[in-house]
């Protein structure tokens, strides 16, 4: 997927004017935020679990090489295959080779963010293999030829009317005048269409929420059950996983499971948590005959040892974006790449380069809500500031902004001059504001005053007033 993160401002503008999007994003309050709060309130140990989750992942990251090699060895002991991939291209080629070896024409897919990251669908299509998304949200956006706008609710921006439209357009096998106004009808139709696909597919591709070193298992957490049919019915199961997903033991996985669903959808536990270990056993009556794990680095190893290492603790729960006022106003597409919201604004520059995503670290008010809810206690605002600093060092902000800051630094370190200057400015603006005390348009801040008036200062600086009142012997008003 080509990133449009550099156009964040334009993207955001368009998004803010989109009434339908506003309505769709409005559902997040009840849908995500209130449910999360209720689930967290029900578990007194939640804060303790967050500490444990943070410490667990820190430990894993410090010893990542070892845990990965143990995981690899145990997958192989169980008769599975492990493919190491440095970058997106190697990962795509690896998947393609597996598909070609199996003579695959269609592959079904469970929801996987790493598959989005390596732009797998587009690539497979080019090579004549049809990838079919089976998660309802992913299926909807695949039909609409769109990227996901949220990491756990990929079609959150699509209204049910728009889903009905695209279903009518695509599913020609049904009567044209069938009723499709209710979510239930839409779901039933998608279920019906996809049932056939699950059975026909030659290869099933899923992501992984975790990898377990102890057993060589891969873990997916879903609500629909599509990931399970995806890995059960085709002859070959391919798991795509980035390297930071490994945890030492099944017990360690419990810590993350106790945090994940509560933070994501406010459930106690998602409907299905599935541990897959090797291919089907000799006497099993169903299950895939081959099991492949594609281990993908794609920039992660380079984040270790840097100020962004902690981002690798992320479990992709989406709590940060669900609670982010900026995401809530502009939605996910404005961020211009695979990962939106606060986690995306930290991760995207690390993965595709700050030069391709410069505006993202500024797409935040640094209100701190994301860090407050992040189950893995990732200091997102601090990392956004790191990116802003890096960005500043690269001198990417426009020359005018740099000049203004230089002027500010110069004057702010000269107290006398500062007082004289601010007093003059306060007086001038006060006169300008007139009786109403409001300024309708400021030439230097036009975009700001376009939408609102600027309240004019009262003609005095704080220091002036303070001195005056000290002299009068009164207390500060």
């Amino acid at each position: 997927m080509n990133a449009t993160s550099l156009q964040f401002k334009e993207n955001a503008h368009r998004a803010i004017e989109d009434e339908k999007l506003k309505k769709a994003l409005g559902t997040m309050k009840v849908g995500f935020r209130e449910k999360r709060a209720a689930a967290v309130a029900k578990l007194p140990e939640f804060e303790e679990l967050r500490d444990a989750g943070r410490d667990l992942k820190n430990h894993v990251l410090e010893n990542l090489d070892h845990y990965l090699t143990v995981f690899e060895a145990r997958v192989k002991e169980q008769g599975g295959h492990v493919h190491w991939c440095r970058d997106a291209e190697e990962a795509r080629q690896t998947v393609l080779k597996i598909c070609r070896d199996k003579g695959a024409r269609t592959v079904t897919k469970g929801k996987s963010m790493i598959a989005e990251e390596i732009a797998l669908n587009h690539f497979l299509e080019e090579k004549g293999i049809a990838p079919i998304e089976t998660d309802l949200g992913e299926y909807i956006i695949q039909l609409r030829h769109e990227p996901p706008s949220h990491i756990i609710a990929p079609a959150i921006h699509v209204s049910k009317e728009a889903v009905a439209d695209i279903f009518r357009e695509t599913h020609k096998q049904y009567a044209a005048d069938r009723p499709l106004s209710e979510p239930r009808q839409l779901l039933d139709e998608a279920r019906d269409v996809l049932r056939g696909q699950f059975i026909e597919a030659d290869v099933g591709i899923t992501g992984a929420n975790m990898l377990i070193a102890e057993t060589g298992s891969t873990v997916i957490v879903t609500n629909e059950g599509n990931g399970d049919l995806t890995q059960l019915l085709p002859k070959t199961h391919v798991v795509l996983a980035s390297i930071e997903k490994v945890v030492p033991t099944l017990d360690d996985a419990c810590t993350i499971l106790r945090l994940l669903a509560r933070s994501a959808t406010g459930q106690e536990m998602s409907s299905y948590t599935t541990f897959s270990t090797g291919p089907r056993r000799a006497d099993d009556r169903d299950g895939p005959e081959e099991f492949h794990v594609v281990l993908i680095d794609n920039g992660r190893s380079g984040m270790l040892g840097t100020e962004f290492q902690e981002m690798l603790r992320c479990i992709r729960c989406a709590a940060c974006m669900n609670h982010c006022p900026v995401y809530g106003a502009v939605g996910g597409h404005a961020y211009g790449w695979v990962y939106p919201g606060p986690m995306g604004s930290v991760l995207t520059p690390a993965l595709i380069g700050i030069e391709n995503s410069a505006p993202l670290p500024n797409a935040s008010t640094l209100c701190g809500k994301c860090e407050e809810v992040c189950p893995m206690r990732i200091p997102l605002p601090r990392m956004l500031r790191h990116w802003r600093e890096k960005e500043f060092e690269r001198h990417l902000p426009p020359a005018r902004v740099r000049q203004a800051f230089r002027f500010y630094a110069w004057i702010a370190t000269r107290p006398k001059l500062w007082r004289w200057y601010t007093a003059a400015a306060a007086r001038t603006l006060s006169i300008w504001g007139g009786k109403r005390g409001r300024i309708k348009s400021l030439p230097m801040a036009k975009p700001w005053t376009d939408a609102r008036d600027m309240p004019a200062p009262e003609g005095e600086t704080f220091m002036q007033r303070y001195k005056r009142q000290q002299k009068a012997g009164g207390k500060a008003a």
Partner: protein, 231 residues
């Protein structure tokens, strides 16, 4: 490509962490951490008297939109299954796991039982389980010749038979039981309530790709002190 990439990724990780390969003692320590797993933070609600845990299991399963019928013994299971099917206007027909613990199922006059894998047309499956976890009302299902995984996902209705003696407090206890049993099967499913989606306008719908209904038949055997189960 792959072995090159392997070396490259591992080297890159070590270089970023500012070290070489871990020394032997450090690796041995990590291996110990893997091979002697210890529970982390276990919520208080996952602990307590067994009878209380069974009640919590029922309460949490219902909270996750599963339904529960309690019966005194296996002999009452076929009727419970038949009644439940009737209550939902479904034909008295199930596909059941070829597991010996379900052998009493065929005893009911009107209930038609086939055994084996599920097919897309099957409307209801009956399976045993390995454990019920009180903490969240979660059922742990193991794949194997006597329990094909397709039963858990293809039919619209999934009926799981669980014995009270199989109920544990937290997930870790289920893992301890699994380790004691030996090899890990191809698939371990932790199932909490029926399949669902909120993908269309965040409206919760049950029955996405997996079962629409999850029904639990709980055999209250713990008072009799028996202990039997899958595997």
């Amino acid at each position: 490509m792959s072995s090159d990439a392997r070396t490259h990724v591992l080297t890159r990780i070590r270089r970023s962490l500012n070290r070489g390969e871990l020394p032997d003692e450090a690796r041995a320590e990590l291996d110990r951490r893997i091979n002697e797993p210890k529970p982390g933070v276990v919520p208080a609600r996952a602990t307590g008297e067994h009878a209380a845990l069974v009640e919590r299991f029922v309460e949490m399963a219902e909270f996750a939109a599963a339904t529960v019928t309690r019966v005194p013994g296996m002999e009452a299971v076929p009727t419970a299954v038949a009644d439940w099917l009737k209550g939902h206007n479904l034909a008295p027909k199930v596909v059941a796991a070829p597991d010996a613990t379900l052998d009493g199922l065929e005893g009911h006059g009107t209930l038609e039982v086939t055994r084996g894998v599920a097919h897309p047309a099957d409307q209801a499956a009956v399976t045993p389980c390995f454990a019920g976890v009180a903490e969240t009302g979660t059922l742990v299902l193991l794949s194997g010749p006597e329990h094909p995984t397709s039963l858990n996902f293809l039919p619209d209705n999934h009926i799981i038979v669980v014995r009270a003696s199989q109920v544990v407090g937290g997930y870790e206890e289920a893992w301890a039981k699994l380790r004691a049993q030996g090899a890990v099967p191809r698939t371990v499913n932790m199932v909490t309530g029926p399949s669902r989606t909120g993908d269309i306008e965040q409206t919760l719908q049950l029955g996405a790709h997996g079962p629409r209904r999850l029904h639990i038949v709980l055999i209250d055997d713990h008072r009799r002190g028996t202990d039997s189960g899958e595997g």
